[in-house]
Amino acid sequence: MKPLRKKDKPQDVSRRQFMTGVAGAAGAGLLLGQAALPAWADGGSAPMDSPATPWLASFDADGTAPEYNPREMPKAGEVIHKFEMEVTIGIHEIVPGIKAHMFLFNGSYPGPTIRVQENEWVQIDLKNKSPENHTIHWHGMMLQNEMDGVPFGTQWPVFTGQGYRYLFRAQPAGTHFYHCHVMTTLHQQAGLVGALIVEAKEDIVKKTFPYTRDYTLLLSEIDTNWVNESLNEMVGMGMTMNAMNNDMKLMGEMNGRMMGWFQDKEAFLKSIKDGYTPAYMTSMVGPNRVITPNFFMINGKSYPMTDPLLIKKGENIRVRMIGGGMQPHYFHLHGHDFWHVCQDGAPLASPVRMNTIPIFPGTTSDIVIQGTNPGSWHFHDHSDLSTTNNGIHPGGMMTMLMYEDAEKYGVTFKDVIQTNS
């Protein structure tokens, strides 16, 4: 990143301070008092002392604390957005001829984009109509522990036919996402992932780069063969469990150890003594299944079925990129530099100019592209393994930045779709 320049000081009033009206953080090295923390955060045992810092003035040492107490419930008059999310197994087409059985949120992959205003309440009723267990983890949200969607960590997984109500205040603002946290390697890859956009009340990006078009690109990969095999196994196990649920005699046999679930380490060790064999022990070479992604997708589609980013000369567009898979990607835009403005939802201390941006798994990066060079321009992962479909280039994580008014500026070459090279 470039060093901070004087004129790039978007955060001299941080979002949090702006909202709570707590002044401070004016000069470098100023020791912030506890007053800078929200009132709810300071009732506990060890108060979070802010360190003396040699960082620049715009740095707010308390900036990562949630603005509102995550353990609060909605008060009368507050906005609650209500959504239903139904998980089923369905078929998703990645490119023509390549279909996969996947888990779908409300019938789509990726799941529907949830877009709310900062500090509004979000209520999601998860309904599980698939033969497997699921949860939803709200990636990046500062919410109460019980709403975090980690099976066995913060809640029981949601079994077939059952539901779970998630309720949280959308904080902090920015580009986030959600995904199932049950066997994440499989369930997220098999489809349970979607964007969660929390719009800031005071959007510094919009202020600096006025824009109207706002794109979300969720990046993910799939090993269709591995997902197919694993999903079949999981569905078989799920259907067996459901049969047991409906039969008193079988129910008596239901045993967490069958699923590899234990109360604690002691219970695990005792089960081994009793003859339980953990799955990882059966073969020292492991199962003959290495996950090798063969399709790389932007919003569930691989090139040439990806959607282009449309722009006009003089227009700013915001592009929210989400690392929704398990591999890093390095997105490169031809013919332009762009501004990296937010990381993991939060505005950077200053926009950073670049033309290739790494998007790591679990991270989100917002960029602003300025319409400065009419034409149709490639925008793609520069780690070129990911620009293939089943090993054939071009494909995968490729899309186009397309000027709607390119012709007006003398660009006449029409982009040609290639599926083979």
């Binding site: 369905g90 079949n232 569905v235 067996t240 039969d247 046999e253 064999t277 059966t282």
Partner: protein
């Protein structure tokens, strides 16, 4: 298993001479390629499956299994029969079907291995599968042997009860009752009910009235219908599989004339359970139409009208949901409708203890009793007893996985995808 399609034998025939440029000659890297109708560039790797079963036992007592010409070899032996290695290759086809090739060999029983014919080609067939149709041609399991398999140690234990016997077999190679050369078309409804229409060449090793045949002409045809339950749910479903079939065998008049066969059977869960499963297998093989009233030799015992019923009860104990041991009792009774004193019974008490994934220590007690006429045809022994102790290792490994099973839970429970 029905996987596999012909690999890429032929290499770069095309692209040899390019505008007179000196080219490196396009000779296959691994020797001379085989002639095929359309040579293929070796660019697409098929899915490869390797299946192996090693059955190694020390047999105490008379141990010729049910090989009906037995009775001479008594005493103990080292037995590796029924061990097999099968390789398959499978590939997706352009319009959503699956093409495959399967080739495998199986170790013969002690007498034959002693003679040096150790391996029997029991699988060598090409298979085409689409959603509602399958067609296969080649050497593979007899269609009549696909309704029920029994939990005996080897697939040929009690074969005279559990299989529709090959009336053209000399009786020396018990596997001739299990495998044949087949051309079959299988239709299905929702991948649950299957109708198999086939013609066969049952292997002709017997010295028939027409003399021993070295050809592979068609000598049998038939049809069967089978219902299969959901795969992977055998522990909780009630009806695992059941079916019935008809077969016509064209036998020369001097050998009793044509024989018809009807067979029916199934596998049923008596006690669905993940931990203590008890299931039942029943199969009846009924043949009629032959004129034989006595046995001139072993092959006649495969031709004469008979009824064989076999049943097996199996208990599988799986603490924590993983198989630990299995005990089963398989019993068969057979009688000939026009030959008297030819009844027989067979019993197999089989115990398997699992030591690791696919690796078991096994023990089996086999007993057979034959009526006078049958005993005479088999060389004189009325009774056979054997105790077998040994190991079984069984594996099924997929490389380059790219073809999903047609009858997967996902395909059965959700929309079908050709993959």
């Amino acid at each position: 298993m029905r996987t596999s399609q012909g690999s890429k034998r032929q290499t770069l025939r095309q692209g040899v001479a390019l505008m007179g440029l000196a080219m490196i000659s396009a000779i296959p890297a691994f020797g001379q390629a085989q002639q095929v109708p359309i040579p293929e560039q070796p660019s697409t790797a098929p899915q490869i499956e390797i299946l192996g079963t090693g059955v190694a036992t020390l047999d105490l007592g008379r141990s010729r299994n049910s090989t009906p010409d037995g009775g001479k070899a008594s005493g103990s032996q080292i037995n590796i029969s029924d061990s097999s290695l099968v390789v398959g290759a499978a590939q997706r086809l352009y319009k959503g079907g699956i093409g495959s090739l399967t080739v495998g060999g199986l170790a013969l029983d002690q007498t034959n291995t002693g003679r040096g014919t150790q391996l029997f080609l029991h699988q060598a067939f090409a298979d085409y599968q689409a959603q509602s149709l399958e067609a296969y041609i080649g050497r593979t399991d007899q269609p009549t042997a696909q309704i029920v398999t029994f939990p005996t140690l080897r697939g040929d234990d009690l074969v005279t009860f559990t299989n529709l016997l090959d009336p053209f077999s000399s009786g020396e190679n018990v596997n001739e009752h299990r495998y044949s050369n087949v051309a079959a078309i299988t239709l299905n409804q929702k991948l649950t009910t299957f109708e198999n229409f086939h013609v066969q060449h049952l292997i002709e090793s017997a010295d028939t009235s027409r003399g021993p045949s070295t050809g592979t002409g068609l000598n049998s045809y038939g049809a069967s219908i089978q219902h299969l339950g959901l795969p992977g749910l055998e522990a909780v479903e009630k009806y695992i599989s059941y079916g019935a079939g008809y077969e016509h065998r064209s036998i020369g008049r001097t050998d009793g004339g044509s024989s018809e066969a009807l067979y029916a059977g199934g596998v049923f869960n008596l006690k669905p359970s993940l931990v203590n499963l008890i299931d039942l297998r029943v199969l009846d093989n009924y043949t009629f139409g032959s004129n034989l009233r006595s046995f001139r030799g072993t092959p006649d015992t495969f031709r004469a009208n008979a009824n064989a019923i076999t049943a097996a009860v199996r208990y599988l104990h799986s603490p924590f949901g993983k198989p630990a041991y299995q005990v089963s009792l398989t019993a068969g009774y057979k009688s000939y409708s026009r030959v008297s004193q030819a009844g027989s019974i067979g019993l197999a008490l089989t115990g398997v203890k699992r030591l690791g994934d696919g690796f078991d220590v096994v023990a089996q007690y086999l007993y057979q009793h034959r009526g006078d006429a049958l005993a005479t045809a088999y060389g004189g022994a009325h009774e056979e007893n054997a105790v077998q102790l040994g190991f079984v290792f069984n594996f099924d490994t997929l490389f380059n996985r790219s073809v999903g099973p047609r009858r997967s839970l996902l395909n059965l429970q959700h929309q079908y995808i050709p993959n």
